[in-house]
Amino acid sequence: MSGKGLVDAERRRFNAFALAPSLIVLFMIAGLPAIYLVVTSLTPFQLVNPGSSTDFSSPLRNYRLLPDDPRFVNSLWVQAKLSFCGVLFQVLLGMLLALLLHTQSRVVEFARTFFLIPMVLPPIVVAIIWKLIYTPDISPLYYAAGLLNIAMPSLTSSVDFALTAIIIADTWEWLPFTFLMVLAALQTIPDEFSEAALVDGANRLQIFFYITLPFITPILVISGMFRLIDSVKAFPLVFLLTGGGPGSVTEVTNYYAYLLAFDFNEIGYSSSVTVVMLLLVVSVSLGVVWMGRRREAMA
């Protein structure tokens, strides 16, 4: 064996040793739980009924129940509304904010940092902040509405406004994310493009639609997909602001699965809801990776 071959073999051994512990641990703390979740979803498991955890007599029973469960179907619908509106607002407002803050001024660069605050705050603190704003007796919002003689309904307990209240809070929390992504994309646009267009007599709107927008469209799509994947995690907001109510107007799938497992004791059924949710998330993630690669291939 040549010297180079010896070095390669030593290197391969080192790589294997460096990688193995992580893979083993990840398999144990993520792979096994995922497998166990699928196994549990095939049983009618209830904590009060220990024997039920190994009852595989009718493995697909939970999955057959799902389409006829109005609360499950409703939760998917609520999730779709929350995700769609949230992502739409976050991408649009994030883009506007990025366009506003895309300059080389020192002051603006300093200010940018403060726009990131909502995103980094602990989600439960975000939920507390919005609970404050939506609680009539101590809310600055209700006080301001009172000054202007506007009669404000109780937002979080109203069938018409509860979901909107959550979408507003979610948009506030995640707007900085789309803002950061779009800002990064704007900074890759060469100045010469818009300068040349200006010389040719293009107005600002034309520059935006023909130069800026095509440049940032991929980032708009990708950051939207990221927000879409993460929008199923809006648990603290729902938990604290509405508790899924009124009725089940704000009961997203994640929250319904939580109630099923830890309130109604239906561990097996909750697992099947979660498996379906997980499959949806994985397929969207695959889409993001695929688009990312295609983008890289184009670049």
Binding site: V7, V25, S105, F114, P122, T212, A261, V282, S285
Partner: protein
Amino acid sequence: MSGPIRRSASVRRLVAIGVTLIVLLSPFLWLLQMSFKSNDLILQFPPPLIFTPTLQNYVSLWQGAFPASFVNSLMSASFSTALALILGVPAAYALSRWAGRGKHALSFAILVTRMAPPIAFTIPFFLFYRWIGLLDTVTGLVLVYTSFNLPLVIWMMQPFFETVPQSLEEAALVDGASSRIVFLEIVLPMVTPGIAATAILCFLYAWNDFFFALILTRINARTAPVAVVNFMNYEGWEWGKIAAGGSLVMAPVLIFSLAVRRYLVSGLTAGAVKG
């Protein structure tokens, strides 16, 4: 409008930025100012904007069970960060130098663990912990936090390792150094800033968790976010304590995220765009 980049912003733009900033940050500032108000002042209507601040809420937090939960948060976040770094940094290095087949599939599998909604892990972890007695322990939280911090380390560290010139490593290898020595003494020192940024992001993710702590802890290992929510109880909401506790929970986050703001996006997206 993007337009050509200007050296200084126009007055109109500065005003627009200022107004947006105030609107965006006022909900956050409202919580902060409330933490310095006595309960009487909090319930006063209209809310007084100018008042004598008091530390009363913070003092009563300090005297209660809150400090213990704060320590639980600190411990579970720090230990899970340490564990994720010890395991993940060498793994990220190996992956970044691995040209073999299966790299993409493996990377995607690691990524999915990070994107999965927490409820997917909570049910199995809850059942398993109940069985082996890890419910309501900091150890239990450390393990569950590692399940999302380890993939983050593996994803975030790879680009940092890719910036280290391979010729440097090859030269050392040819000189007879072992791969282990090359990794520890040449490569690691060059990626220290990356490790620091990754560590802070791991800490923040664990610190920000509410869902796992809500389900996997009761009293002994209760974390600060769960403790704050417990001030919203049936006898009435202790708004002063909620505001002060909330402010304390967000304090480390604000300090740390300023330190790593350059890496925030890559940390949040965990490298997925690179596929």
